[in-house]
């Protein structure tokens, strides 16, 4: 009877000693450093390139200052006042409403806006967005505030950044496609330089 009792006691002592943590217990919810390192290595190995869009930081102060100093009173203010990016539009002459399509169609979207200005030789489509996708590492760094002109299958386009937002102005040629666009690069850039602020937050 005594021997089994002695064995049980020694076993209990050994068992208790085995229960003591070998290192200081980490606070609840925080993984021990070693585990964290392992996890980091593992997740790095399977990490995929970031492709989800993020939101650009918009410089509303600069946009408001430009809006206040704008030397024009003919541009029509557009948008709800909460459009995600400053609104750039061409100056549209005020016309009497006719049966034809309105000279400017403005649409607010979650990431900004788009607007279509109907013309004779081409229509102008202006897109403004606050979304940004990570640039591939092999693209050369550029001054994105500068206008970049490209011919396209449907006409020409100019992209540029301003106030932190990204803009695309497309010149959609009417008529059959042609080897040459319906608008020259200089004329397209002139048209973009004449865009005015039609709304800020």
């Amino acid at each position: 009877m005594k021997r089994p009792a002695r064995i049980v006691a020694i076993g209990a002592v050994l068992a208790l000693s085995a229960c003591f943590p070998r290192t200081e217990e980490a606070p609840e919810g925080i993984a021990p450093v070693a585990e964290l390192t392992d996890q980091a290595v593992e997740s790095e190995a399977i990490a995929e390139p970031e492709t989800g869009p993020k939101k650009a930081a918009i410089d509303w102060n600069a946009a408001r200052a430009d809006f206040a100093n704008q030397d024009s009173d003919t541009v029509t203010t557009q948008g709800s006042g909460n459009v995600a990016v400053p609104i750039l539009l061409p100056e549209i002459p005020v016309t009497i409403q006719s049966d034809g399509p309105p000279p400017l169609r403005f649409t607010e979207v979650p990431d900004g806006y788009f607007a279509v200005v109907t013309g004779e030789a081409y229509d102008v489509i202006i897109n403004g967005t606050d979304r940004l996708l990570a640039a591939p590492s092999n693209l050369p760094e550029i001054d994105a505030s500068q206008m970049r002109f490209e011919d396209t299958m449907t006409g020409s386009q100019i992209s540029f950044n301003r106030y932190g937002a990204s803009y695309l102005v497309e010149f959609a040629c009417k008529g059959p496609p042609n080897a040459n666009s319906c608008i020259e690069e200089d004329d397209a850039k002139q048209a973009v330089e004449e865009l005015l602020l039609a709304g800020t937050q």
């Binding site: 979207v109 900004g112 229509d123 996708l133 449907t154 803009y167 080897a179």
Partner: protein
């Protein structure tokens, strides 16, 4: 017997050594006097302490010998109650490996253009990772329209059966004669989207035979929730409201569009039909699909749609694409077009 005698003698000697004196009868000596009685309180060594109670409650009638002190026993430990036996939980069977989805199509790597047709973009970045495939349910074969059968840089007719058996092939950045540029292409004068041949050889013949009417055989659908932002002479433009991307669907049957400018569309919604409209002179029956996306530090630009299309088709088919190596090592080179030769497509 001898051993017993020796043991008895040894025991006797030991027992005698414990005695103060040994009296042998008949030796004439007086018996020893009893020890004097010690009065209570007299100086002297203290009486032995009371024996410790037996921890197990059993009184030991025998005084422990001083030479052999009782071994120290550990403090009595209340034995822990036997733990309730844990209910036997059957070992969970390991999750069976999910059956790999069946291979539904084959494709060449992104940027692997037809040899001699230009230098591609080898990025596998998904610029529209969740998009719906733009063709509702017909088989689809993304491939060059200019360098394959029936194209301006090849022989044969567009309905050649081999066009409908070929693995998928990227043609973003494919060479063009006109000044079309894309920042993501290594060269200038490039194709800014992905051409998708649709259907079957017989479908191609059927579409051809309805001329001069335009076909309504293969449905084109919106790839993302959004708004139809513009209608050109031979295309629709669609602004995605999830990603902010701009999508162009070019060469639709413009006389049978299913949506109008300003319409809100849902991903997968039918918007039109595959055709060959090109503002006058027709092209081959196919969908030219473009994505324009806002790239950090660069601006809004044409991006490669190929891998987004691969993934979207896998979802549509509930299968997977198998990436394969070309039979011949493609030579990434820019062709020299003959004087006056134009590729508008």
């Amino acid at each position: 017997m001898r051993q017993i005698w020796w043991a008895a003698s040894l025991g006797l000697i030991i027992a005698l050594s414990a005695c103060d004196a040994v009296r042998i009868p008949g030796d004439g000596r007086a018996p020893p006097e009893p020890p004097p009685t010690i009065p209570e309180g007299a100086p002297g060594p203290p009486p032995p302490a009371e024996p410790a109670p037996d921890p197990e409650g059993v009184t030991d009638p025998v005084e422990p010998e001083p030479e052999e002190p009782a071994p120290l026993e550990p403090e009595p430990v209340e034995p822990e109650p036997e733990p309730e036996p844990e209910p036997v939980v059957p070992e969970p069977e390991p999750e069976p490996e999910p059956e790999p989805l069946p291979i539904k199509f084959q494709y060449y790597a992104p940027g692997e253009l037809i040899s001699g047709s230009g230098i591609g973009n080898r990025s596998d970045t998904l610029y529209a990772p969740d998009m719906v495939f733009p063709i509702k349910d017909a088989p689809a074969f993304p491939q060059s329209q200019v360098w394959r059968f029936g194209g301006g840089m090849s022989t044969g007719g567009q309905c050649d059966a081999r066009n409908y058996e070929a693995p998928w092939q990227d043609n973003f950045c494919e060479a063009r004669s006109s000044q079309k540029r894309a920042t993501m292409c290594p060269e200038t004068r490039v194709h800014q989207g992905q051409d998708i041949r649709v259907g079957t050889r017989q479908g191609c013949i059927d579409m051809f035979n309805v001329r001069p009417n335009k076909p309504t055989l293969y449905k084109v659908v919106a790839v993302e929730d959004g708004i139809i932002s513009y209608q050109g002479g031979y295309y629709l433009q669609h602004k995605g409201t999830q990603t902010g991307n701009i999508y162009n669907y070019i060469h639709l049957n413009m006389s049978a569009l299913q949506v109008s400018v300003g319409d809100t569309v849902a991903a997968g919604q039918h918007i039109g039909y595959v055709s060959d409209d090109f503002g006058g002179t027709p092209t081959t029956f196919h969908l030219h699909f473009e994505i324009k996306a806002p790239i950090e530090g660069q601006g809004i630009m044409h991006v490669p749609p190929y891998m987004s299309l691969v993934r979207a088709y896998e979802r549509r088919e509930n299968g997977r694409g198998e990436m394969i190596e070309p039979d011949l090592v493609a030579i990434a080179s820019v062709p020299v077009f003959p004087e006056g030769f134009e590729i508008l497509e």
